[in-house]
Assembly symmetry: C3
Homo-oligomer: 240 residues x 3
């Protein structure tokens, strides 16, 4: 299975062209869209999301990851084997928590280059063909590479990293690291824990452990982003 | 064929994770996205849409339906066989018109539970595995269940239930129950019938029978939602 | 491979129903979404996009193209073989540049009609079944047809024809027809060429050859549409 994690949007031509390449090069591997709206041009926020959501997928999955504001510049294209899953994409911090949390990980720079490499769309021209080959069990040419590390990025990020279709605001905090008594504070509001939407009154804000283990802020029967004025990057304080 | 009818959005992680489960459990069954933007958290409006659009699909189709504001609460998870199609989802009114209009229908509560059941994402953890098994011809464990019925919901709903990509406003009224001479009234405007867009002047509003049999309000070369101030829930009166 | 080029949106019921037909009629042919957000109801702008993006796909590809504001009116449904690719859709100018740029092209009117043909959704009822048959190597009934030509449309269009997910503004100008010294002017701003995003300062606007050969206006780490007030149809002048 090839899982797509990008900031391309599903509409527009980018995801479709990448899927055409995947189908051409690995027709038997299903391509699954995980995020097409990862935080645009924001590898740091995307890194927390990717690590939380990738862990749910089975061993052997190939992740094709393109949040790549530096495309055309000097960042290296990499392929990473981490705990028996593959990750392909730019070396710009996007894989920081894949690497930090893996029991075993190996990073290589992609040495293969296509006949035609556009300046702005390495997802289609470089990363997708490599992901397809990995999905078929092949290993594209590579060379040893020291990835750029971001030791200053915290293990858990007290910021909003994603707003979903319902207006729920996902943080970069793992719920496993929080006590359920913890109260969050954002936008001058205190936000206590609840197990689920129906446990609070309509219009009330609460936080809960989402289905992939992240702390998520929601409003029962409302949009947390609108009610609380949250967007990607909004800080969240842990009040108690 | 497994048809997805949800309010998840296609972007974001929800539809993708559900498709990953469907592919794992029923790799030979194609998953088709029908609505990923069914009226959010609104099983009543969604129920009129679902009944109108499901009827178009062939016998044997499995519908995986998740408009589920009460997830984590006490509503039952159900599977319904209606006129040789399967419907899987929450018992919250979403299937009211499937049941009301079916010649033969059988409702059962899903008795199977997964090893891990998140509080907020039964679409992935519970409904998708059940839909996959039904698509393979298997019958997951179930028990007799009296579904919650909504006898007060009218057979046809004189409200907007969906705004499409072009700004056309779909009502919960079946065109087969309307005379073509009927004039609708909404937002202080009278709206007469026309067969098609090109039959009215640019900028003019009209209603027509859409391709799935519902009454739809449109503006030739314009957005009906913007021109008439329509949104989901806006009332429509049948003036004559 | 069947490539979808429409203004339907991916959400909503239209793309899904069309894919259900494609799967029913040509289950072995993968359906790839290229654009689901082609310029809505705007065959002229869409024609420049389609020609630029179709050229990238391999020989044998079938393009199912629906930007069809005249559906239900008198425009003909056509199927076109151009340089060993197939194009199916309405004869409303959408294929102008496919025809103008092809070495060899043959246009025919689709003579087949389905049992049920809705007034407003020929994509599902007429064009998708024809595309599926072409993908299987069959030739649906057709008759000779003189397509409507638009000789007044320029070879390259100095207007914005698409705004992408990042706010980049794609023009109808082919970069191959421009000198790199050319300066564009739009919204009272002069916009010079750069190879790539990282070659200009944060916040600076520039133009570059996008990955499909069109001139695209972008802002490094910003949204060109918002910064420059661009939308589909905005004129672009070639200042030098």
């Amino acid at each position: 299975m090839i899982v797509l994690f990008t900031d391309f949007g599903l509409e527009g031509p980018y995801t479709g062209q990448m899927k055409a390449v995947l189908h051409r090069d690995a027709p038997a591997a299903p391509a699954i869209d995980l995020f097409a709206d990862a935080p645009a041009g924001n590898p740091k926020a995307a890194a927390y999301l990717l690590a939380a959501y990738a862990a749910w997928f089975p061993i052997g999955t190939v992740f094709l990851c393109v949040v790549d504001p530096g495309v055309g510049g000097r960042r290296a294209p990499v392929m990473i084997e981490a705990d028996e899953r593959w990750f392909v994409g730019p070396d710009n911090g996007l894989f920081e928590f894949i690497l930090r949390r893996a029991k075993r990980a190996q990073v290589a720079a992609i040495a293969w280059r296509p006949e035609f490499l556009s300046v702005s769309f390495h997802g289609r021209d470089l990363f997708a063909p490599v992901a397809a080959r990995l999905a078929k069990g092949e290993t594209p040419p590579s060379r040893a590479h020291q990835p750029l590390r971001h030791v200053d990025w915290p293990d858990d990020l007290a910021e909003i990293v994603y707003i979903d279709h319902y207006g729920n605001a996902i943080t970069g905090l793992r719920a496993s690291a929080m006590a359920k008594e913890s109260v969050l504070s954002t936008a001058s509001r205190s936000i206590a824990h609840a197990e689920t939407f129906s446990a609070v009154s309509p219009g009330a804000a609460f936080w809960y452990e989402n289905s992939n283990g992240l702390v998520e802020i929601a409003v029962n029967l409302g949009r947390a982003d609108a009610v609380l004025g949250l967007k990607i990057g909004s800080p969240v304080a842990i009040a108690t």
